[in-house]
Symmetry: C2
Subunit: 463 residues, 2 copies
């Protein structure tokens, strides 16, 4: 076999040539091997390659191969021994987006209700999640506000929890997709984050390492989305669907609105609290009105998953089934089972409001009457971060109890001095800047605004 030198791979991509499978695998091997004894490629070479990809893009074959090479750069989950249907969902990140905390139990409940011959849940959700970064929240940070909850399971422990519960919510280990950790660490400071090709390879390599039969992607659009335009979100959705399908995983992407925080709360414990309230409500009327959109979005995403898992003829029928599972209390039972299996103390779920310990609270009221017309949702996310719920750089601690409670949704009619938003922080000095950010971005108008649909578009492989 001829040796493939990193410099030649850089030159080919630089000049717009398509890379061969052998070149891509050699590159990723060189990137991962450098963490051990060999120095086959320098940071500068990787950065140069990343910028060349940013400028030149990747064709579908290259993207599928890069994703596959990254996926197999470390440990991968092997679902075959479970003989179950594995499925997950992934979101590109939002504000108040707690769908994972609802969807994992909903799917687990459906899986527990239809076990395999071996007694394993017929649907399993091996959900590997991330942490808060930038203006978006992170599932792991929310879960870790539950005393004892352990997100650091290894792959054997993951299989054990799945067998018992039908879902597990864990963090990435250093041994899963190590190539992505190296690449992301470099992309972050070399101006190569926003490439839809590199984002696709990063997300999909990690999701496909879960050995999935199917995957539903929630790609955000709007002022709180990571991608700056609808078109770029759509391109990302297409690339991810194409890459998932190329690896044999049924993949569907929904383009969903992120123009305001989803649900009632945004933060860490407050979002767990909201989910407990939702899962414990056995009648639609007892649901908190501010949770309307997050329930709807969760049902739609879970509906697609139930459809792909063969439990519903259509995504719409799946969404109805999802809502039934919620209202039946089965999702809540599955949730308690998962939390217990991962070491969490479920006693605090009896009175979640009592577990909320922010020492400083401030409520912004409507300065005048009118309609809640618009906001820069990204700014709202940054305000949540500044309150202490998010982090400035990876590894920073986050506050369990900081966050916001929304008292109105876009389009709601407001009277002057009506509560609009409440801020929570662990220290009163942390309230001023976020208050100012929120006051500036929340716009009240005399006439009702034009509202965006919650779901803009579904992207899937042509039949």
């Amino acid at each position: 076999m001829t040796t493939i030198h990193p410099i030649d791979i850089i030159l080919h991509k630089r000049d717009g040539l398509a890379l061969t499978d052998a070149e891509i695998h050699a590159l990723i091997r060189a990137i991962v091997d450098r963490t051990t004894e060999k120095q086959l490629i320098t940071d500068a070479q990787i950065a140069s390659f990343l910028m060349a990809v940013f400028q030149r893009g990747l064709n579908p074959q290259e993207l599928a191969t890069l994703t596959s090479a990254m996926r197999t750069s470390g440990d991968t989950f092997d679902a075959a021994p479970l003989h179950t249907f594995t499925i997950d969902k992934h979101s590109t990140g939002g504000v108040g987006d707690k769908t994972s905390l609802l969807i994992a139990p909903i799917l687990a409940a459906a899986g527990l209700a239809s076990p395999t011959p071996a007694g394993i849940p017929g649907i399993c959700v091996p959900m590997i999640s991330g942490r808060s970064l930038g203006h978006t929240g992170g599932t792991l940070d929310k879960l870790e506000t539950i005393p004892g909850f352990n997100t650091q399971l290894n792959l054997t422990q993951l299989a054990d929890v799945l067998k018992k519960c039908g879902a597990a919510l864990i963090g990435q280990t250093p041994r899963i997709v190590p190539a992505d950790r190296i690449l992301y660490g470099l992309r972050d400071h070399t101006g190569t984050v926003e490439s839809p090709f590199l984002i696709t390879a990063s997300i999909m390599s990690k999701k496909l390492a879960e050995d999935l039969n199917a995957l539903v992607l929630d790609v955000k659009v709007g002022s709180g989305a990571f991608m700056p335009t609808y078109e770029k979100s759509r391109l990302l959705a297409e690339l991810m669907v194409q890459t998932g399908e190329a690896s044999g995983t049924r993949t569907v992407a929904l383009l969903t609105s992120m123009d305001e925080p989803l649900g009632r709360f945004s933060g860490n414990w407050v979002e767990v609290w909201e989910c407990i309230d939702i899962m414990r409500a056995t009648h639609k009327e007892t649901r908190h009105p501010m949770s309307r959109d997050i329930i709807q979005l969760s049902n739609i995403l879970a509906g697609w998953m139930l459809h792909l898992a063969g439990r519903a003829d259509t995504p719409e029928a799946g969404a109805s089934l999802s809502d039934e599972i919620l209202l039946s209390g089965e999702a809540y039972k599955a949730w308690l089972r998962i939390v217990t299996a991962q070491g969490g103390d479920t006693a605090i779920f009896m009175d979640p409001a009592a577990h909320h310990k922010s020492t400083a609270t401030r409520t912004i009221t409507a300065p005048h009457s009118g309609y809640l017309a618009s906001m820069d949702c990204k700014q709202v996310g940054w305000a949540v971060q500044r309150l202490g719920a998010g982090r400035t750089k990876p590894g920073d601690p986050v506050s369990a109890h900081a966050g916001i409670e929304m008292h109105a949704k876009l389009g709601d009619r407001l009277e002057a001095n009506q509560p609009l938003i409440t801020l929570f922080a662990e220290d009163p000095s942390l309230l001023d800047e976020p208050e100012d950010m929120l006051r500036k971005t929340l716009q009240i108008s005399a006439t009702p605004p034009q509202l965006q649909p919650l779901i803009h578009e579904v992207v899937k492989k042509p039949n």
Copy 2:
């Protein structure tokens, strides 16, 4: 003043925005400062920036500013106290290209013949040259075959030699254009060498650090040229002329043929030997016929320089003057003066052939009769390198006596078994591979080939 962060400069260039002067200066400052106490920018960031420039290019203002920021990143020569006309020539690199060794003495002779009121030569050539790399030769390696010749002068010593001799031939010091050394070190292994913008900034920052009134550029085209196509050579010539003129230096570029080695010899001492023979020939008939093209090219380049220096009304008249200076022996006298001033032993010039000490020699003859039709001149350059005259990586030693002697020029009629080329190496084992390379690339045809002109085009600022 707001701080400019390297990441923002990368993002701007990545997205095709024009960089401001402040951004470019901040970038170069960060690159140079990192060699001292501060780590303001990483190798990976510089590499990412270089690839972004490779893909996006630089507009004339950006290129002029980048060149200027690099030029002033370290020490620069200050010619003002000399009150003379400073001029230099630069070649993009060739095989057997020994024009520097002829042109410096020719211009020096003209300068010595027309001193300033202070008694300093009226033309000074502060020539900072490079070393052999890849398939091309290097002026410093040739000069250092002269016993005692010191190319490592500082800028004060440079001024002293110029005052005495009108020309000096020295190497770059670590303190001249340090930004280029850092950038070039990274470009070499990150696939960003061949950018005409980065090549222009690299060459012109070093040449303009010589504080020149005028500069003549010899941009090679053809099979032995660094740039792969005529169009790319032309673009490089245009960018260099534009950048030189933007800095106030009169700049002219000649696109010249590099389809076969220039002159009789290619190597190190053998090229000095050829120049001595040329400078000592007082009649055209006593010149070696194989030196015809190198004499012609040197006269044309020197002619442009004499014209720009006001010593000839036209470049053509300058070329005639140059040839007169050669045949008069004045160039040789200037040469002896320069070599002596730089510590070299001129005694060996009495019998240059005797100083040639290759221990292994082999002559390739024409396999059949016909016309010398073509060769890959780059391959000939690599053969010279493999014989020992060049180096594989910077810092490697080179052989003083390795090289080749051409016995025919393109278009010459050959009889079967007539000598075509002679190889010299310090060890017979080094002859085989170059012999094979040369045999493969030298083509003899039944009909005379179409010959390229020596000068293809002159690129200068529109009047």
